[in-house]
C-alpha cells in the first residue's frame, strides 16, 4: 500500500495559481480574436476603397491606370468552383454513402476512411503539383481552368466524404430498418429517405468544402494560372480571384495592389457569408 500523503499547499497559493491560469487562458482567447479582427480590419480598410458596382463588372486594369474590376477573375473562380463541385461532390457523397451505409466496420471501409483522412491532410500545393503533372503536362500541354477545377475537386472530396458519412450516421438505424421493412430497395431508402433525413448535414458538408477551396491559391498557381481575358472556356488558362490577388499584390503598381485588397475583401465577405449560412442551417436543425 502506498501511503496517502496530503500536500499542504496553502490556500492562498492555490487561489493565486487559479487566478493566474484563468487570466492566462482568457488572454490567449482574446489574443486569437484580436488577430482575427486585426486581419478583418486591415482587409476592410484597404479593400473598401475600390468597392463599387463597377468593381464587379469591369475588366482588369492596365498597370497604373485606374482600378477596373475583377469580373473575369470572379467569373473564373465561380466557374472553376462550380466544375469542381460537379466532380468532387458526387464522388465525395457516394464515398460517404459507402462508408456509412455499406462498408461501416468492414476492412475495406476502414482502409477507405484512413485514405480519406490522409487525403484531407495532404498540402494543397501537392494536389496542385499532381494536377499539373497529369493534366497540364499532358497533351495539349497548357494551363487550363479544367486542371484547376480538377485540383479543387480533389481537395473538396475528403471534406464532403467525411461530413456525408458523419451526417448519415446521425440518422438512426430505426429509420433505415423501418424503410427496409416496407420492402423499399436499399438504394431508394438511401436516396429517397436517408438523404432527405440528413439533407441539412449533407448541404453543410458541401458548403464547408466550397469555403475550403474558395481561398485556395497554391493548387491554381500551376493549373489554372491566370488570364487577362474573360473565361469563356475552361480549357484555357483561367482568371481567378486568388491568383489575381497573388499577382497583383506582388506587383509594383499601386492600382493593382488596391485591386488585390478589393478581391481579398470579396473572398472574405464570401467566407463570412458561408459561415453565417452554415450557422443558420445548423440552428434550424437543432430547433426541429
Amino acid at each position: 500500500m502506498t501511503e496517502l500523503r496530503l500536500s499542504h499547499r496553502p490556500a492562498t497559493a492555490r487561489k493565486a495559481l487559479d487566478v493566474f491560469v484563468r487570466a492566462f487562458s482568457v488572454l490567449s482567447a482574446a489574443l486569437g480574436i484580436f488577430f482575427l479582427f486585426w486581419i478583418l480590419w486591415v482587409v476592410l480598410q484597404k479593400g473598401h476603397t475600390v468597392l463599387s458596382w463597377s468593381f464587379f463588372t469591369s475588366a482588369p486594369p492596365s498597370p497604373g491606370e485606374g482600378v477596373g474590376g475583377i469580373k473575369y477573375a470572379l467569373v473564373g473562380t465561380l466557374k472553376m468552383t462550380g466544375l469542381a463541385c460537379l466532380m468532387g461532390v458526387p464522388v465525395g457523397l457516394l464515398t460517404g454513402v459507402y462508408l456509412a451505409e455499406f462498408g461501416r466496420h468492414g476492412a475495406f471501409a476502414s482502409g477507405v476512411r484512413f485514405c480519406v483522412n490522409l487525403l484531407m491532410g495532404i498540402p494543397s500545393i501537392l494536389v496542385g503539383l499532381f494536377a499539373y503533372t497529369i493534366i497540364v503536362l499532358a497533351a495539349p500541354r497548357h494551363y487550363s481552368g479544367n486542371a484547376g477545377a480538377f485540383a479543387l475537386a480533389i481537395i473538396m472530396l475528403p471534406t464532403v466524404a467525411r461530413t456525408s458519412e458523419d451526417m448519415l450516421l446521425l440518422v438512426p438505424d430505426a429509420l433505415r430498418e423501418s424503410a427496409l421493412a416496407l420492402g423499399i430497395p436499399r438504394w431508394r431508402v438511401i436516396t429517397g429517405i436517408l438523404f432527405r433525413a440528413a439533407r441539412k448535414g449533407l448541404l453543410t458538408g458541401v458548403l464547408l468544402s466550397v469555403s475550403r477551396v474558395s481561398g485556395e491559391t497554391a493548387p491554381l498557381l500551376f493549373t489554372a494560372l491566370n488570364n487577362n481575358f474573360y473565361p469563356k472556356d475552361l480549357s484555357q488558362p483561367t482568371a481567378n480571384l486568388t491568383v489575381t490577388i497573388y499577382n497583383y499584390a506582388m506587383s509594383p503598381y499601386d492600382n493593382w495592389q488596391r485591386v488585390a485588397w478589393g478581391a481579398s475583401l470579396v473572398i472574405m465577405a464570401f467566407l463570412l457569408g458561408v459561415t453565417l449560412l452554415l450557422r443558420f442551417i445548423l440552428k434550424e436543425r437543432h430547433r426541429s
Binding site: 430505426a174 423501418s178 421493412a181 426541429s288
Partner: protein, 269 residues
C-alpha cells in the same frame, strides 16, 4: 447460453396445435457473431390471429421476430439457421425475393419512425414502389390505409404536414398505416407501444384487435397485461428457447411450465 443446443435435451411445452400456420419456424437457431441467441425454436403462427411473444429482456423475442422479414440481414455477423416457412415456402432459402417478402410481411418497431416527408407521402412512398396505381387510386389507398390505422379522422386535413408533427401515438399509427398500405399478410410488431403513453397504447391495442380480421399479427411485448388482452396464442421465450406455447387464456391462468408461471407471476424478468 454457452451450452450447445444439441447437448441439452429440450422440449417446448405445447398446449395448442396450429392448423395451416401462416408462418412456421422450424429448428430456428440464430447467431450474433459467435454467440448463439436462439436455440431450435419451433413456432407456428395461426392465420388471422394475434400471437404474442413474451419473455424477459434478452430472451430472444425480438431476435426471433426479426427473422420473419429478414431485417436482421443488414447487419454483419447476424445469421439465422433453420427453416421459416411462409405459406410453405422457406423464406430463409437463398434466392428468396426479400423485397417481395417484406411487402407481404410488414413490421412495426418500438419507436415510431415517420419518414422526413408529409403524412400523405409517408404512406404513399412505399405504395408507389410496389404498385402501379393512378394518382386517384393512390389517394384512395392512402385514405383507406389511414382509416384502417384509425388515424384518418385526425389527419385528413393535415395530409401535407410533415409526419414528425404528429404526437407519438399518432406517429405510431402512421407507421401502421404505412405498413398496411403494402397490403401485407402478416404484421410483425416489436414492442409497438413501449414508447407510447397509456391512452395511445389502448388505441393501438384496439386497432390490433380490428386488424386480425384481415391479417395475421405477431406481437413482441414486455407487457403481460397487453399480451393477455389482445393475443390468442402466446409463446414464452427464455434464454433463446421457447419454453411454452399455448392459448393465451390457458397460459395466463394455468401455465404448464414452472418457468412460465414464475415469469407471469412476476417472480423474475
Amino acid at each position: 447460453m454457452n451450452v450447445p443446443a444439441q447437448e441439452t435435451p429440450f422440449e417446448t411445452v405445447r398446449d395448442v396445435v396450429i392448423e395451416n400456420p401462416v408462418i412456421s419456424a422450424q429448428q430456428l437457431d440464430f447467431w450474433y457473431g459467435q454467440s448463439q441467441a436462439l436455440f431450435a425454436n419451433d413456432l407456428d403462427i395461426a392465420p388471422r390471429k394475434v400471437t404474442a411473444i413474451i419473455g424477459p429482456s434478452g430472451c430472444g423475442k425480438s431476435t426471433h421476430l426479426r427473422v420473419y422479414n429478414r431485417i436482421f440481414e443488414q447487419y454483419r455477423g447476424q445469421r439465422a439457421v433453420g427453416r421459416v416457412l411462409l405459406d410453405g415456402q422457406d423464406l430463409l432459402a437463398p434466392g428468396t425475393d426479400v423485397i417481395a417478402l417484406r411487402r407481404r410481411v410488414g413490421m412495426i418497431f418500438q419507436k415510431p419512425t415517420p419518414f422526413p416527408m408529409s403524412i400523405f407521402e409517408n404512406v404513399a412512398y412505399g405504395v408507389r414502389l410496389h404498385f402501379a396505381f393512378s394518382r386517384k387510386e393512390l389517394e384512395q389507398k392512402v385514405e383507406e390505409s389511414l382509416r384502417a390505422a384509425a388515424l384518418w379522422d385526425e389527419v385528413k386535413d393535415l395530409l401535407h404536414k410533415p409526419g414528425t408533427a404528429l404526437s407519438g401515438g399518432q406517429q405510431q399509427r402512421l407507421c401502421i398505416a404505412r405498413a398496411l398500405a403494402m397490403s401485407p399478410e402478416v404484421l410483425l410488431m416489436d414492442e409497438p407501444t413501449s414508447a407510447i403513453d397509456p391512452v395511445a397504447t389502448a388505441r393501438i391495442e384496439e386497432l390490433v384487435l380490428q386488424l386480425k380480421e384481415r391479417l395475421t399479427v405477431v406481437i413482441v411485448t414486455h407487457n403481460m397485461q397487453q399480451a393477455a388482452r389482445i393475443s390468442d396464442n402466446t409463446a414464452f421465450f427464455h434464454l433463446g428457447r421457447i419454453i411454452e406455447f399455448g392459448a393465451t387464456a390457458k397460459m395466463f391462468t394455468n401455465p404448464s411450465h414452472p418457468k412460465t408461471e414464475e415469469y407471469i407471476t412476476g417472480r423474475f424478468g
